[in-house]
Amino acid sequence: MTQGLSDLGTGPGPLQHQLDTVELAARTPDVEQPYGELGLKSDEYARITDILGRRPTTAELAMYSVMWSEHCSYKSSKVHLRTFGDLPRSEALLVGIGENAGVVDVGDGYAVTFKVESHNHPSYVEPYQGAATGVGGIVRDILTMGARPVAVMDSLRFGRADAPDTARVLPGVVAGVGGYGNCLGLPNIGGELLFDECYAGNPLVNALCVGVMKHEDVRLAKAEGVGNKVILFGARTGGDGIGGVSVLASETFDAEGPAKRPSVQVGDPFTEKLLIEACLEIFAADLVTGIQDLGGAGLSCATSELASAGTGGMHVDLDAVPLRDSTLTPAEILMSESQERMCAIVEPGKVDAFLAVCRKWDVLATVIGEVTDGDRLTVDWHGERIVDVPPRTVAHEGPVYERPVQRPADLDDLQADDPAALPRPTTPEELAAHWLAVVASPDGADKTWVTEQYDRYVRGNTVLAQPDDAGVVRIDEETHRGIALALDGNGRYARLDPYAGAQLNLAEAYRNVAVSGARPLAVTNCLNFGSPEEPEVMWQFAEAVRGLADACRELGLPVTGGNVSLYNQTGDVPINPTPVIGVLGVHEDVRTRVPAGWRTAGESVLLLGVTRPEFGGSAWASVVHGHLGGRPPAVDLEAERSLGELLAALGRGGLITSAHDLADGGLAQALAESALRYGTGAALRLGGDPFTALFSESAARVVVTTTDAEAVRATAEWAGVLVTELGTTGGDVLAVDGVAELPLAELRAAWSATLPALFGTPEATVGSVPAGTVPTS
């Protein structure tokens, strides 16, 4: 166990074996406390002493240390994140930043809540449980809002695909995401899988959950009504995950440091499934006045946040908490991050009904306290007071830092290192070889090895899922209303220019949602960066936030919430800044959704949007030359918006049969994926410089197929979007005039062999084909 935590006995130093009560703390001001080992700075400790007018008790110190951690308090990011709150008010936003997740009006009385959260550090320490509990945590956030969770997505980053440690981390993470989500009965509808050396010691595991409810069902995390009961329900409290947020998520990994496994939580998706069904039944019967899930910082977080957001105080009798391990100290109980627990505020007259629902679902539920009329959060243990604090100071008034920022010293050189100088393929043979290299690279390759470990079908409402650009879920079987979601986070672009990089990620997610035919409605984010104590990282963070806020303002999209993950670095090397952006869109009728692959011969293939020679941060430069430099593609949000409006019009009018976004790998990647999806080739002409046409990563571009090119042309003219005719679908070859003739069998072999070759070929895959590609009878 981490040093410091082992000091969390009943009392500190000379007081060991004596319960550290509020009364004792007032009498013994000079006792030394292990605040440093718990992640608190000396001035933060001094502030706690000021707030309380005495030294904190051991239990209070535990609470403050976890709640004032970077992970829970957002102390380094808060000053920047305020920008999102300053965006113009959107009519679609029902609940904004500050609650467990934002809530958006999607029409017909439906509200949707969605959020992404990181579980990066735990997933590195213990890949399966880290990833699994990441899914579990975000699902409880969504449930807490009153919504039925309906789908999950995952955005994953690992070190080089062929690095030995990636072979340790990736299979466990994928199995963990799948194992937990599959057991909960939530379809996994998409995400990302990317590799880069910079994530070798800091893989990124970002999980998204989306939930649906009616407007009137929205629940908030607050404790109101004096005399109302505080009920803890779900799993018993154990010794797992103690200090997870302060020790794991808020510190840089030290390559030489001790193993941190005890700080990772262990998940039980079966219990969570029961918790979901019990909660939904409890909501339907209107049995709670407030509810909060127990995630990072466990009971410390849930009780202080509920009390802080409410009107009164709260008293908790810690002896009532059901334990898995009877030797836990009160401080450990308060800090434990045992999974699958929720905390509800229930009127006394409804307690019996509440407990009956829990009994029906075999969910353990215990009254542990009540709402009081004071303004203090108090906790007793064995009849003695061990916590007596103003809850706001724990939950909402933690430290706020205005950290120094400084533009990275290497950025000028990096931007000057333009990929225009790299040797380019010129002969048809070279072009074909580079095309295959990009498509077969770990980033470009078929992701079936991962996605077939996820259940995409459960609940029967999945309309589109990976490899389509966006996940699309039906939310009403009568009206056919549905939602679309995409997650995108290119770290190379953000490394070259974090302001533009964040905007490009937003633009890509926006485009991916639009490609499905949906109207983009709202934004969430998961901001993965290095240590905030390094001014250059803090500059990247500030720039990315500023870029994202500016782009949201221009596109008229609200930011509904988000998550910040800092300290993603090993030693003094931070990851590429990786702002992962999620966009939610709405389909009035999911039956008009547009899939991404070519199905039928004889259709026109059209490119929408303008191609410029832009190779900075491109897949081509990275795959072929191992190069990262120059500037990322230009951001043109007006063009993104026009393209989005055009795609919506084409989708609604049934004018296109497929649409696929151009992003990493440019047209080369998009053409290959479109052809391979259903095994339909094409005969194409590119015009101009074939290298630029294939490998440029200019934004605001989409490739579509249609049986009515004239109608698409006319609509595009109305929208002000350039149309380039590329050719016609058909055959079993992807043929580009004067450039390459790629037989689909050869292309598929290269594209689909990469991940199985790296991470294992199960013997039974032989002769089988991936989901979505079997011709139906």
């Binding site: 029961l274 077939e452 079908y457 039974a764």
Partner: protein
């Protein structure tokens, strides 16, 4: 026509099974594992999921649930029963169907669109198909590898009890490519693939799965 769909703690595809029943124009009736009440249903579906968290063995605890004991009694009198995925595991554990389902050969959970051949088109749940018909429905499981002792496999096969077979690839290492089996009287069928996920063009790889749910309407009428 009332078709019950049992919900156990940890059932996941119960909403899907109920939807499939509805699309087959029958009335889905929600049944609760802990009740001794079959609510006068004409047939029962045990849906997919992870009943009781798959603790002990997949399906082992659910097979001892109060309602499953009632289902076993009624099945022995000829009531049609369909077990899908976890439901198949429950029926094997309850002794209504032969064999057992174990961890996939490759040890991964696998979800894909799977081609199947209908080997028996005369059971209560498959009579709307042609013998030998090829269908495509999703398969998704971590413990779907059908196993039995060689002599039992010979007997099951000899008695024509293999209802559905995997074709064009075996997704989990099931012995003799067995995807589903039937009881001697053809009234009870269990299979690992998910016909309830292939009942709408919008959400499934096909609508090939609907036949299971339309078949039983005739089976009940003719019983």
């Amino acid at each position: 026509m009332r078709i019950g769909v049992i919900t156990f703690p940890g059932s996941l595809d119960d909403v899907d099974a109920a939807r499939a029943v509805r699309l087959a124009e029958a009335e889905p009736v929600a049944l609760w594992h802990a009740d001794h009440d079959l609510k006068d249903v004409d047939a029962v579906v045990l849906p997919g999921g992870f009943s009781y968290g798959d603790y002990l063995r997949a399906g082992a605890i659910a097979a001892r649930a109060p309602l499953v004991q009632d289902v076993v009694d009624r099945a022995r009198q000829g009531m049609p029963v369909l077990g899908i995925c976890n439901g198949f595991q429950v029926l094997c554990e309850a002794g209504l169907l032969p064999g057992a389902l174990t961890r996939n050969g490759h040890l991964h959970f696998r979800n894909r669109d799977q081609a199947l051949r209908i080997e028996r088109a005369d059971t209560a749940w498959t009579q709307d198909y042609e013998p030998g018909q090829r269908i495509v429905v999703p398969v998704k499981n971590g413990e779907g590898r059908y196993v039995a002792a060689p002599a039992d496999l010979d007997r099951i096969q000899g008695e024509g009890r293999v209802a559905v077979r995997y074709v064009e690839g075996n997704p989990n290492g099931s012995m003799r490519d067995i995807a589903g089996v039937t009881s001697e009287d053809g009234r009870v069928v269990g299979l690992m693939p998910h016909p309830e996920h292939a009942v709408e063009d919008l959400t499934g790889p096909s609508t090939d799965g609907l036949g299971f749910f339309t078949s039983v309407l005739k089976a009940v009428v003719s019983a």
